[in-house]
């Protein structure tokens, strides 16, 4: 029994939320508690599975291949667990746990089928991180997008529907680009398995190579829309700001899906072994990433609104990661992976925190009232219950301010929290291309640009967060202290606590990231495990 579980561990992150979500659909609102309990249970199982997979990748076999239907890789679809997938699974489960707990206080009642959609969102995310097949990646993208359309509109209201309309239209168009890219790659290479594709790319004849690269570039566009690279990311701030806070928190993981796909595919398909195509698109990613950082930094400075501030932070985070992938050095990738974990948790915490801070303002109350009105009167009894249990925890403002300070430090990359460690690791990677204390240190032009952009974005974030903090936390005249329940502040504390844990345990975490980065840059083990004896 245990051995069977061990063997089938890789499929659990997809199966568990699928089953949980499917069970939740027929449950009506009378079974709210059961539904919420099932949701939390599913997320906890996911977290356990993800941790087990990460341990397995770190201590046991670095790459585990799960063959669906036991077909060999070229014919069947495979799921591949390596350090990168496991890391992202853990992050997804943690953010999912935080967002779901937060939603139990109030947001789950703002619309129908929140819990089921949430589970399907997790299923799509996990599937996209696990799959080793391009078309299967498309399917999981659609699953997570379809669920995210529902979550983006959760709570209804004019602002959400307007932003949701743009969000859906852009993502549908991006999905079409995805299909064009995938089919062009298939037309040239004759396979959609990522590892098989990587093995075939060096031997593609020269006359077909441009077609393959065009296909890869179109495919990349679809991911870049998701990752919100400038100028493809104008939709992001609107959609994320309008979405309900728990949905926005899980969306901060969703923009990491695009980054994951780019990281995985650019390293696997266009790494050093790719023959004439080696390094394809890296400079584009570097320049695009730096432009995104610049755009994000300007929008952070320009915005007056806390929600849009968080949206702009997502842009900066995406830009940093894209540029780091484009830099194509193991040291930078190590720092970038650490940054990915730190910023995903911090932005998730910020989205949840903002709703709590804004609750003291009249504007927030208005939006909520409109939402309730638009959704209908069916929830009157629950509203009364909600008023009863809203016990103000002591020293609310102090805790909120401390959390906001931590988020600001994390996002700006100031010591002592993990944001600083992440930026330091990236800068050290840029300045020492051959590794610390090894070889000559001639830094490329792209490296200097990236270094400048990283420092500048940190400065912009500090300025913007300080201003926003002063305006919303210190200058509180004429504003009530927000009523915050323990169940709402606990997820924020959990996420920030994790970042503090990442700072305290920076050594082991960075070692894990370094192993991940090395495996990404030289994916021999991945290819061997997936392709079997064949090379």
């Amino acid at each position: 029994m245990l051995a069977a579980l061990q063997n089938n561990l890789a499929i659990l992150p997809i199966l568990v939320p699928l089953l949980a979500g499917a069970l939740m659909i027929p449950m009506d609102d009378q079974r709210g508690r059961l539904r919420a309990g099932l949701g939390i249970l599913s997320v906890l199982v996911l977290l356990g599975t993800a941790l087990a997979l990460a341990t397995q990748a770190e201590t046991g076999a670095a790459t585990t291949v799960y063959r669906l239907g036991n077909w060999p890789a070229t014919f069947g679809i495979v799921l591949v667990v390596d350090r990168l997938s496991a890391l992202l699974l853990v992050l997804t489960a943690l953010l999912g746990l935080a967002a779901l707990t937060f939603s139990l206080a109030r947001w789950q009642r703002m619309g129908a089928h929140f819990h089921a959609l949430f589970q399907f969102q997790l299923m799509g995310l996990n599937g996209a991180f696990l799959t080793g097949d391009l078309f299967n990646l498309f399917v999981f993208f659609e699953v997570l997008l379809a669920a995210s359309y529902g979550l983006a509109l959760h709570g209804s209201g004019v602002a959400r529907v307007k932003a949701g309309l743009h969000y859906i239209a852009i993502n549908l168009a991006a999905s079409l680009l995805f299909l064009i890219g995938v089919s062009m790659i298939y037309g040239v290479a004759g396979t959609l398995n990522m590892a098989d594709l990587a093995a075939r790319i060096p031997s593609i004849p020269a006359e077909n190579r441009k077609l393959l690269e065009a296909g890869a570039a179109i495919l990349g566009m679809a991911f870049l829309v998701k990752a919100a690279m400038w100028p493809l990311g104008f939709w992001l701030a609107n959609a994320y700001t309008a979405a309900s806070p728990p949905a926005a928190a899980i969306f901060s993981m969703m923009s990491k899906v695009g980054l994951y796909a780019i990281l995985r595919l650019s390293m696997l398909l266009f790494g050093e072994d790719a023959g004439a195509s080696a390094g394809f698109g890296h400079n584009f990613l570097l320049i695009g990433g730096i432009a995104t950082i610049g755009f994000g930094a300007v929008s952070v400075l320009a915005t007056q609104d806390l929600g849009r501030l968080a949206g702009a932070s997502v842009l900066i985070s995406s830009g940093t990661l894209l540029a780091a992938v484009g830099a194509g050095q193991v040291g930078v990738t190590t720092g970038a992976l650490y940054y990915l974990a730190s910023s995903a948790l911090a932005i998730g915490a910020l989205f949840l925190l903002i709703e709590l801070i804004e609750r003291g303002r009249d504007v927030g109350a208005d939006v909520l009232a409109v939402t309730l009105e638009a959704f209908g009167d069916g929830n009157d009894d629950e509203d009364e219950e909600e008023d009863e249990v809203g016990v103000a925890i002591p020293a609310t403002m102090a805790i909120l301010s401390a959390c906001f300070l931590c988020c600001a430090l994390l996002l700006a990359g100031l010591p002592p929290l993990s944001g600083f460690v992440a930026k330091f690791a990236m800068l050290s990677g840029i300045l020492n291309p051959e590794g610390l204390g090894r070889g000559p240190t001639d830094v490329s032009w792209g490296g200097w640009l990236l270094l400048g952009a990283l420092v500048f974005s940190g400065l912009a974030t500090v300025l913007a967060m300080t201003r926003a903090g002063i305006r919303s936390l210190w200058a509180t005249s004429g504003r009530a202290v927000p009523r915050v329940r323990v169940i709402e502040i606990a997820p924020v504390l959990l996420l920030i606590g994790l970042c503090i844990g990442m700072t305290a345990g920076a050594g082991p975490v960075l070692r894990y990231m370094e192993n991940t980065a090395e495996a990404l840059h030289a994916p021999k083990d991945y290819l061997r495990q997936v392709n079997g004896g064949r090379q």
Partner: protein, 115 residues
């Protein structure tokens, strides 16, 4: 035959992109549908066009790829069509909601701005 298919993809794709840029939600959804038809034909054409060849092996036949149509693009198209249906239906619901909430069919929700 290649020319007809290429023209069909081009015309569908071009009309789709044009409609995508229009300001009304109805034009938007028709544009997306046309584009997805173009993309589906495009995926299909990546299977190299063997006319009148079966995509499956007959019993007792040797597997010579030259005699068969590639079944994979066909299955990809099928999946893409199904997913396209689902997302189009979902988008229609959102559009109806937007129509109800904003009182107009402008994609930015500005009712009757240029009427």
């Amino acid at each position: 035959m290649e020319l007809i298919l290429a023209l069909a993809i081009g015309v569908l794709g071009g009309s789709g992109v044009w409609l995508l840029m229009r300001p009304r939600t109805f034009q938007l959804i028709i544009g997306l549908s046309l584009l997805s038809y173009a993309v589906n034909l495009f995926i299909f054409s990546m299977g190299r066009f063997p006319v009148g060849k079966p995509p499956i092996l007959e019993p007792g036949m040797r597997g010579d790829p030259a005699v068969f149509a590639d079944p994979l693009p066909q299955s990809l198209v099928l999946t893409a069509i199904v997913i396209g249906f689902a997302t189009t239906a979902l988008f229609l619901v959102v559009m109806l909601a937007a129509r109800g909430l904003t009182g107009g069919d402008h994609v930015d929700g500005q009712a009757g701005r240029d009427r």
